[in-house]
Amino acid sequence: MSIIHCQLSTINCQLSIINYIKMIVLNNIIKTYDKGETKAVNNVSFEVGKGELFGLIGPDGAGKTTIFRILTTLLLPDSGTAYVNGFDVVKDYRVIRASVGYMPGRFSLYPDLSVEENLRFFATMFNTGIRENYDLIKDIYTQLEPFKERRAGKLSGGMKQKLALCCALIHRPAVLFLDEPTTGVDVVSRKEFWEMLKRLKEQGITILVSTPYMDEAMLCERIVLIQSGKILSVDTPSTIIGQYPERLFAVRSDNMGRLLSDLRNIEIVKSCHAFGGYHHIAFVDRIAFAGQANFADEKENPQNALLHALENENHRNIEIREITPTIEDCFIRLMGNHYQPTANGFT
């Protein structure tokens, strides 16, 4: 924020400062295991503002859990600094521990205690009771209430997640850390879970959530794409998608398996990845954008060239249409730089 701008519009300036309070800050965090052999987190920096629903998107082994553990003061970084709610994760660990909620990736409840016993226990640990912040968990807990006598170990995956969320929320934390809350949970429970997160965000709670499911990225306000301990991109999902540098097409035919290998052998196709019912392809740059003399009649519409090529390979019911990339497309593209292909691989 420039001084001039402040002078011009003091009110505006103050407002924006109030609106953007940094709740989580990471500066060049590095964390290694096995005496430096494995770099779990490699020079990671990002910030999360107050009240943001922020996603950490990446596969297993990307370093998501390590970042969570550093921020929840459970691990010390090798180098770099990190702050939660303005407090240093190394020096002020006691303050941070009192003001954050944390749901680890593993099932973090006592299976031999009942739903209610679990909740009561965690409430007491945080110096509070179920009553005090009941309004915050009411939505979620009412679904669990009919089973409050049941042992937590006998709950379904989705219900366990809800109970764990209640336990992490019971003391009305300023920041909520959720490490892969939806892993191994079915689509219905996942959808419900994200609905809950949205409502919690509306109550002003800052949420940092990680997930290996790329489609969940769209449900976050801002995301970090992370792979092998390195950040690939930090931004809003729509900005990341907007930055996708190529036009992307979805292709399908009657024989999807053969289509995949055929597409990879077609000269004008630059990249090709299976995406459910379609394969996503990008054309080599000169076709997609610059169009050279050799391809004079196709330069307007490279789809036609592809259609011909595929018809020559005896594909039937071919469908080609331009699409907006998904976060997964972006992830795959950004991963390309870091990826070491295997013999059967493709990048």
């Binding site: 596969p59 297993d60 995956g157 689509v187 219905v188 429970s189 959808k191 489609d215 019912g277 990048t347």
Partner: protein
């Protein structure tokens, strides 16, 4: 695609009063990729266990690769491969040791082991990793290796229980390439997954809700039937009605 490799008829499993799987009836054809989907607790694991000969059904009938699941469980085990996200390989053995161990328990001879092991290593491009501990491999490689080991003995059917959980998007696609490869060689794949885009890679999909199969068709037909754009919507529409998910 007419030869039936899995045939179940009113397969039921009860645990006391609880009916985990209720009159499950379906056929799976040779060389098919059969997606076996369902919400948490719908009974997928129960059915999988019965089909692998690990658990006796309460009633109903089924044959796997032509063998009866009550009387011929040993024959079934010889003709199937199994891989799950949770357990697949021994982390403290090397790549080659794992290949030899799992090939060995399926009765491959020394020569077969050598040939198939070589072919597997070449296909996966792991020539330089054969002496490395499995624990030192990235997750994606482990999963690909685990799958290749599961089909080393050329089973008729391979059961894959959430094989790609947590794997990065590129490796996930490479994994499916391996499945397609196997299917081309005549192996039938029976797959569970939480990734709905992967459901679309299957030839046919069954949806389990509350212990029953509520839908079974090709992805395209299912989408048409439920007028949905994606399998995600089909799944959501069906599983949302589940009462048991508690």
């Amino acid at each position: 695609m007419n030869e039936i490799v899995i045939q179940t008829d009113k397969l039921t499993k009860r645990f006391g009063d609880f009916i985990a799987a209720n009159e499950i009836t379906f056929d799976v054809y040779k060389g098919e990729i059969f997606g076996f989907l369902g919400a948490n607790g719908a009974g997928k694991t129960t059915v999988m266990r019965m089909l692998c000969g690990l658990s006796k059904p309460s009633s109903g009938a089924a044959t796997i690769a032509g063998f009866d699941i009550y009387r011929q469980t040993e024959a079934i085990k010889k003709n199937i491969g199994y891989m799950s996200q949770k357990f697949s390989l021994y982390e403290d053995l090397t790549v080659m040791e794992n290949i030899h161990f799992f090939g060995g328990i399926y009765g491959l001879s020394g020569r077969q082991l050598k040939e198939k092991g070589e072919a597997l290593i070449t296909r996966l491009g792991m020539r330089n990793e054969t002496k490395k501990m499995v624990s030192s491999l990235p997750l994606g490689w482990k999963q690909k290796l685990a799958f290749s080991v599961a089909i080393l003995h050329d089973p008729k059917i391979v059961f894959l229980d959430e094989p790609t959980g947590g794997v990065d998007p590129i490796t996930r696609r490479q994994f499916w390439d391996l499945i397609y490869d196997a299917v081309e060689r005549g192996i039938t794949a029976f797959v569970t997954t939480h990734y709905m885009d992967e459901a679309e890679y299957c030839n046919r999909i069954s949806m389990m809700v509350d212990g029953e199969i509520k839908a079974l068709d090709t992805p395209a037909n299912l989408k048409k039937q439920y007028s949905a754009d994606s399998m995600d919507e089909v799944f959501y529409g069906l599983a949302r009605k589940a009462k048991r998910n508690l």
